[in-house]
Amino acid sequence: MSIIRIVGISLFICILANCGSQSAGSPPATPWPSATVQTTNADTTSTPVAPIVATNQPTAVANTIDSLASGLTPEGYHVLGNMTAPITFVDYSDYF
């Protein structure tokens, strides 16, 4: 797959996921990047990137989990899932 096509697909995913809401370039003024809740793709029932999954490219992992709503808490912690879900599961864990 050409670079141009990969970039095109990435842009397509970005547009579908409404991912322009989070600043990509500037360091946080406060300890965490944002003091407000940020969400992406809040509709948990939609799977806008499904066509990309079907191509079986290395981005399959990203597409699978990135199709879920995600964002930041007011404290700056990353959240996966519906921000208003009735159950909150906090995972304190190390990567290794």
Binding site: S10, P33, A62, I65, L68, S70, A85, T88, F89, F96
Partner: protein, 142 residues
């Protein structure tokens, strides 16, 4: 959580019943911090959880790699992240202090081992099977 988390996601997150909040710890030192920093950098491109999953999926390979930074960069590219932007973010080190500050906060809150979980405030120390989490979560469902 490598095997349990996907089950939790499929059963409770995809259905809108639960959200997962991540609070990283760094009890294995610099490599853990680099991995968490990489996830933050991936988050700038809306791929925080994909990067987190990619790191978990290859913990052994990354930990044994000659260069953790290079390994993380490759994983980022593998999941479709813009490598140049990712590398710039990693080189900036801008999330190091916030992550360390958060780790201090967690320790002050009594998180002194890993893993630790909280389900609607109910603290669970140590790894659990999916069925054990499910028992707790299902009793909380409205």
């Amino acid at each position: 959580m490598l095997e349990v988390e996907p089950q939790l996601i499929d059963t409770y997150v995809r259905t809108g019943k639960m959200r997962i909040i991540v609070r990283p710890l760094f009890q294995t030192g610099e490599d853990s911090l680099l991995a968490a920093h990489a996830s933050e950098c991936a988050g700038e491109q809306q791929h925080y959880f994909a990067m987190r999953s990619a790191i978990y999926a290859d913990q052994g390979g990354l930990y044994a790699a000659d260069s953790m930074t290079a390994g993380l960069g490759q994983r980022a590219r593998d999941i479709g992240i813009n490598g140049d932007d990712f590398d710039r973010c990693m080189q900036s080190d801008k999330y190091r202090l916030p992550l360390l500050t958060e780790y201090t906060r967690a320790k002050e809150a009594g998180i002194v081992s890993r893993p630790v979980f909280e389900i609607n405030g109910q603290r669970i120390i140590g790894a659990r099977q999916f069925s054990e989490f499910a028992d707790i979560i299902d009793h909380l469902k409205p």
